[in-house]
Chain length 145, copies 2
DNA sequence: TTATCTGCAAAGCCTTTGCACTTAG
DNA sequence: CTAAGTGCAAAGGCTTTGCAGATAA
């Protein structure tokens, strides 16, 4: 990690009535070092390895701040648990999930994004964000079938 | 309602070890007559008007059967509550949600669908389904701002 | 000092499950 | 008769909230 993300967090906090805090920055460090798609519970487990006293509520509250700061994004594959992925230095992308084994990949299509923009405009909306999740069966699962 | 949907339900049940039931068919009738995007709780409330004894669990269980039968589809706008929309006689579509007032519209783009298919194939997946939700600000809210 | 942050535990919400009873086939 | 369906209430899983103490500015 370069340290820049902590800087982004701090500048986001500037003037937003948000103070620095050790626990929050530690959560951010662990979050950024981790795999890209973590549930709050999984992140909490990782954080507790280094700082056992940090509670789940703090992790949830920190993730909310990270999302506001643009450092994280919430992703919901529809299994009842929100996941969070860090955004720093990553292009926007969507997801392709295997219905059989649960594996998933990040996908991207500039073409689709453009059409989404146009579609929103056509309905009089200004597009702010979107989620797109494709569900299918991966090659491995089809082969194993 | 034409009655055809009940027929679809019944034929889906054929051989699936699923029996007919009055409560379930009543839930289906109310569901089909209702607005298109209902939470389970909202549907339960409507159902109880006609049959006060029907419980929430039965509604949840019925919705699962409807989804399996292709009569309904689960949609999640990310607010923590699943919604269900009936599919009978409707083209596939996605959603465009206003972040400010919560209004939403159904949208469709054959172009995007084709590209989704191609994208999945490129990654070795066979596409089964997808969700796409665009978030923005509607014209009315932008004007009112 | 004062508003924010934290940890803990409790509460909230939505959804599912266990159980005894009812009902379809 | 047998397996599926139902209603109720309880349990589950994830997330948020209340609160008193700790902490940043």
């Amino acid at each position: 990690m370069t340290g820049d993300e902590i800087g982004i967090l701090r500048s986001h906090q500037q003037g937003a009535g948000i103070r620095r805090s050790g626990p929050r920055e530690e959560i951010l460090r662990v979050f950024l070092k981790s795999e890209r798609h973590l549930s709050a519970a999984a992140l909490h487990a990782l954080v507790k390895k280094r700082r056992p006293h940090i509670g789940a509520a703090t992790v949830y509250r920190a993730l909310k701040v990270f999302c506001d700061a643009g450092l994280a994004r919430e992703v919901d594959f529809g299994d009842g648990t929100k996941r969070f992925e860090h955004q720093f230095g990553h292009e926007h992308h969507d997801h392709l999930v295997c219905l059989r084994c649960g594996a998933f990949e990040e996908i991207a299509s500039e073409d689709i994004e453009k059409r989404q923009e146009a579609l929103a405009k056509k309905h009089g909306y200004s597009l702010v964000a979107h989620t797109m999740i494709l569900y299918g069966v991966c090659g491995q699962c089809r082969g194993a079938k």
